[in-house]
């Protein structure tokens, strides 16, 4: 009955030629979407709700009040402490990534507002060497945590990262300890930290700050986990269950508070902050800050 089989090279659907840049195809359902429409929908597919991966500045524009984001520590530059080289020098890899993304490294940090409420934010960028955490990412996040503690302003970290950056060896690993140590200080001061986990959040990023929030919010279907799926498969020698390491799986197992559509993210975070850190206490916080000084 092999005439029912789909023959290679023969396609029943006529391939649509997409004019460059104007249209975009949904990676999940194949729907052809007008790019501007997708943007106005915060890169969420109108048909199947698929959440496209977006870069840090796009995410910033979706999550925070318009034009409220003021970046800090933008100029911290990565280096190549191990003089690491595989097929390519790490220093060249960095230069290429910087050129391609316009960023210095894989995270953007700053101060912003959400429905008028002030927050300190760190938004990771998967397009910069897979959002991997090297020294600069660790340092910028550590400084954002410090700022959140010093200014007594809630912290939001949006993760999208493959984990620690291999090319900085143990120095990358230590960024897990650094950011977690800073979060212990923040937690001791009683300042809220909301961790937003987007697709993908894995490895060392999950095994440090992403899993240390007071509230964990994930985007639908985001890949979230510790070990890579290929490694797990190799280790246990069997296939992984459907939905393994997806946001819904983590919620089922108790590690995610809520799964929130990107289009409702701002309202949800705002609601949480209003309850945990009401605006009216701002005056009191100012006093606390002054007392400390």
């Amino acid at each position: 009955m092999d005439w029912f089989k789909k023959k290679k090279g023969i396609s029943t659907i006529e391939k649509k030629a997409l004019p460059d840049g104007l249209w975009i195809k949904c990676e999940s359902c194949g729907e052809i979407i007008y790019r501007n429409q997708l943007k106005s929908r915060m890169h969420v597919c109108p048909k199947c709700n698929y959440h496209f991966r977006v870069n840090s500045w796009e995410y910033i524009s979706y999550l925070f009040d318009e034009k409220s984001f003021a970046e800090f520590n933008a100029d911290i530059q990565p280096g190549d402490p191990l003089k690491f080289k595989d097929k390519k020098r790490y220093s060249d890899r960095l230069k290429d990534a910087q050129k391609a993304t316009g960023l210095n490294d894989a995270v953007v940090t700053g101060i912003a507002t959400i429905n008028g409420q002030q927050v300190i934010a760190a938004v990771m960028d998967f397009t910069f060497i897979g959002g991997s955490m090297g020294s600069v990412v660790g340092e910028k996040i550590a400084r954002a945590i410090d700022k959140s503690r010093e200014e007594r302003v809630p912290l939001i970290i949006v993760s999208s990262s493959g984990g620690a950056r291999m090319m900085e060896g143990a120095l990358s690993l230590m960024q897990l300890a650094k950011t977690s140590a800073k979060l212990s200080q923040l937690s001791d001061e009683g300042i809220p930290f909301i961790s937003i986990l987007t697709d993908p959040t894995t490895g060392g990023t999950t095994a440090s700050f992403a899993m240390l929030g007071d509230i964990h919010i994930a985007e639908p279907d985001a890949l979230i986990g510790f070990a890579g799926q290929r490694v797990i498969k190799q280790t246990i020698g069997q296939d992984l269950p459907p939905g393994f390491q997806r946001a819904e799986f983590l919620k089922k197992h108790g590690f995610i508070d809520i799964i929130v559509n990107r289009r409702e993210m701002r309202e949800t975070v705002s609601k949480i902050l209003t309850i945990l850190w009401p605006q009216k206490s701002a005056a009191g916080e100012q006093k606390k800050k002054e007392n400390k000084e």
């Binding site: 191990l82 060896g169 143990a170 246990i236 197992h253």
Partner: protein, 333 residues
């Protein structure tokens, strides 16, 4: 000196050959009554200088092999020689007891201490039980529980690191491997008692760091510690596990590399030939350093201790900051 090794590494072979020859001569001399003492002395000297020569220029990959040597002392071996009245405590009080991590309390020269550490097995059966030293979330949570106990009763904590990684499995992910490790990093950053980390074998990534945050980080001479195993690194970079030796070269994972990168505080000398040649001596060298560190750290008040601990990790990394703030250095070392 131990002579019945489970495994002999390629570069150890000439030494072992010589040692064998010496033993044979000793036997022969005893049986025949001939005086071979001069020759034996000469050969012993030669064996020693050969060992010194080989060990003075070990490659990173050879160090990795030594760190994994199946005859190397493990956490329980160090405990046997260092800790008296050791009482192992079991279970995370939530789900299970994880034999890949040891936790307990005991005494070192009159000092009350809590111990945590990864535990490998020495043969197949033991390794199946210990899961090759690869912990599940329960292991990290057990360690955390016992470290909290230590904080409550003011016991310094010693943590032995020796793992090929946290276990990558379905159950481990379901029960929150990442969360278990992350929580430990946060907790260990502010536990109000001294924490001394001793890397005694393999320090693979988050699985090692999960019990690796402390005030002082000691590293035995022939160990490795990095963000990924050389095999994992090779698989990603060259799509070939067999290139692990090359990966080890570029990863800067040996004790002397890490001292230079400011990640560890001190390299602990091993007996000549490596820790597997003499467990007792390895333990006694380490014990001396552990006691020293405990005494120094106990002098600090808690506030200072914790401030220094956070500071220690804050400095780690390499970045260039064109606008230095008053507290941050222009370039970290």
């Amino acid at each position: 000196m131990r002579k019945n090794f489970k495994m002999i590494l390629e570069f150890e072979k000439p030494i072992i050959e010589l040692e064998k020859k010496i033993t044979e001569m000793e036997d022969y001399a005893r049986d025949t009554g001939l005086d071979l003492s001069e020759d034996i002395k000469r050969l012993s000297r030669k064996a020693q200088s050969l060992q010194k020569e080989i060990y003075s220029k070990l490659t990173p990959w050879q160090r990795v092999q030594l760190a994994r040597h199946p005859d190397r002392p493990y956490t329980l071996d160090y405990i046997k020689y260092i800790v008296t009245d050791f009482l192992e405590l079991h279970g995370d009080r939530y789900f299970a007891d994880d034999p890949a991590i040891i936790a307990g309390i005991g005494m070192i020269n009159g000092e009350r201490v809590a111990i945590v550490g990864h535990q490998k097995g020495r043969d197949v059966k033991e390794n199946l039980f210990r899961n090759f030293g690869m912990a599940h979330p329960e292991g990290y949570r057990k360690a955390r529980r016992v470290m909290n106990l230590a904080a409550k009763f003011d016991l310094p904590i010693i943590s032995f690191l020796d793992t090929p990684g946290a276990y990558p499995g379905i159950g481990a992910e379901e029960r929150g491997q990442a969360e278990a490790i992350a929580k430990n990093l946060l907790e260990m950053s502010h536990l109000p008692v001294p924490i001394i980390i001793a890397i005694i074998g393999e320090g693979a990534s988050g699985g090692a760091l999960g019990i690796g945050v402390g005030d002082v980080i000691l590293m035995m001479e022939n160990c490795w510690y990095s963000v990924i195993s050389p095999e994992g690194c090779a698989a990603i970079l060259w799509r070939d596990n067999a290139k692990a030796p090359q990966a080890a070269e570029v990863m800067k994972l040996t004790a002397s590399d890490l001292l230079e990168l400011n990640i560890i505080d001190k390299i602990i000398k091993e007996p000549q030939g490596g820790a597997h040649w003499d467990h007792e001596q390895s333990a006694s060298i380490l014990k001396k350093h552990l006691l020293e560190e405990i005494h120094v750290l106990k002098q600090l008040d808690v506030k200072e201790l914790l401030q220094k601990r956070v500071e220690k990790f804050s400095q780690m990394g390499y970045w260039v900051d064109p606008e230095p703030k008053k507290r941050s250095k222009r370039k970290s070392k």
